[in-house]
């Protein structure tokens, strides 16, 4: 049995790096897919809308753990033996895509309908409306919830050990199994997560305040 010393702490810190990397990759992958889903969700073609709606509803109604398992074993069945980082990234990316799609769709719908009317009355096409009037405003609206969701994502990386990836929480378990000092170890683990998540939470709240100030007609 070892003691919880400096090498163990550095092990946790390195694992934190993996957590951050996983978060970033999943966010990018999920963001791209989420954007596409949001467009589908708002499309005038009923088939596209339905597919996106069902996908989002299903992902949002099952635990992230299940999304992880389904995509991992699903990929395995399709013949893909992926390294843990990739498997975890893709699985989390699927989870991210559904939630970001909803957030971004909500942001577009939060742009006041008068902006649609005013731009339509100036003879803009739908695409022009989106590009010049609606999306610039929707992006600003989407910042606080998107940053808020980023916090959720960081926390949800804690369960990817089930697909074999060693991130911060798994590292904590490993160190605890070796040293049996759960309070100290998980305290440090919690602190490391806190140091990442708390500033992001504050940023999200700050963005919300800033946005509420500039309200257009």
């Amino acid at each position: 049995m070892t003691t919880f010393g400096w090498p163990e702490f550095m092990f946790l810190v390195r694992a934190t790096g993996w957590t951050l990397l996983l978060t970033a990759i999943a966010f990018v992958l999920g963001g791209i897919a989420g954007g596409a889903l949001a467009i589908m969700r708002l499309s005038s073609r009923a088939a596209l809308r339905r597919i996106a709606t069902v996908y989002i509803l299903v992902i949002q109604s099952v635990p992230v753990l299940m999304v992880l398992f389904m995509s991992y074993y699903g990929l395995a069945l399709a013949g893909f033996e992926l390294p843990p980082l990739l498997a975890a990234s893709i699985s989390l990316g699927i989870y991210v895509s559904a939630y970001l799609a909803e957030i971004w769709r909500g942001s577009i719908e939060a742009v006041p309908f008068q902006q649609w009317e005013a731009s339509a009355s100036l003879a803009l096409t739908r695409a022009q409306q989106y590009r010049y009037v609606i999306l610039p405003q929707a992006i600003r609206i989407s910042l606080p919830p998107t940053v808020g969701f980023l916090v959720q994502l960081v926390k949800n990386t804690s369960i990817v050990s089930v697909v074999g990836f060693v991130e911060l929480s798994r590292a904590g378990q490993l160190v605890n199994n070796a040293t049996f000092q759960p309070f100290a170890i998980f305290g440090v683990v919690a602190a490391l997560y806190f140091v990442i998540c708390f500033p992001l939470s504050r940023l999200s709240r700050h963005l919300e305040k800033v946005l509420h100030v500039s309200r257009g007609h």
Binding site: E117, S121, L122, H217
Partner: protein, 243 residues
Amino acid sequence: MSAVVIEDVHKRFGTVEVLKGVSLAIEKGQVVAIIGRSGSGKSTLLRCVNGLEPFQSGRIEVVGHTVDQDPKRLRELRKDVGIVFQSYNLFPHLTVGQNIMLAPRIAKGMKDNDALALAKEVLAQVGLTEKFDVYPDNLSGGQQQRVAIARSLAMRPQVMLFDEVTSALDPELTGEVLLVMEKLAREGMTMLLVTHEMNFARSVADITVFMHQGKIWESGPSEALFSAPKTPELQAFVGSNLK
């Protein structure tokens, strides 16, 4: 050939019929004011003219465009028909100048230099030349509404629609907006305005239309309509609106 022809228009919101067979013709250069209580259908009628509201039966034609819900035809219509809203609806992420230049550039394909000159011209028309690079947030309500008028004018419309454009303004700010509208009227713009400003309707509008319960209840030359209302409803309306 009238500039605006509205023929027996019926419109429902769900099960509630808001327009019950409205007919109206507006000649080029005429200024027509629509007055009436809330719920009389006046704003809905105005919004039908530029296609913001669909209608179930009847016909509307504006300067050669038939009004239906076909997107391409609506866009062409809206190049010739401008509208100014009660809540101005300026684009908050663009400066005044950018607000005005946007549609001429991307809907009409105007070159940047030409759009810039045009924007400065219409902004001068509404008396706000110095506000070109300011964001709408930093303007008063009256100034924002004048920018909204300039934005519509930049499309060089043949007909201008005004939907209660002073109702959301503080009393001391309505004057500057009404002044701009009066100037437009004198310069010969064909205007259809829904308004609560009775004095303005009386002195600036050629024709005033009084709407009640989804129908045109009375209409005629403004001065005569206000000084000698024929129907009891209009008499009551004018009486309660005497300033």
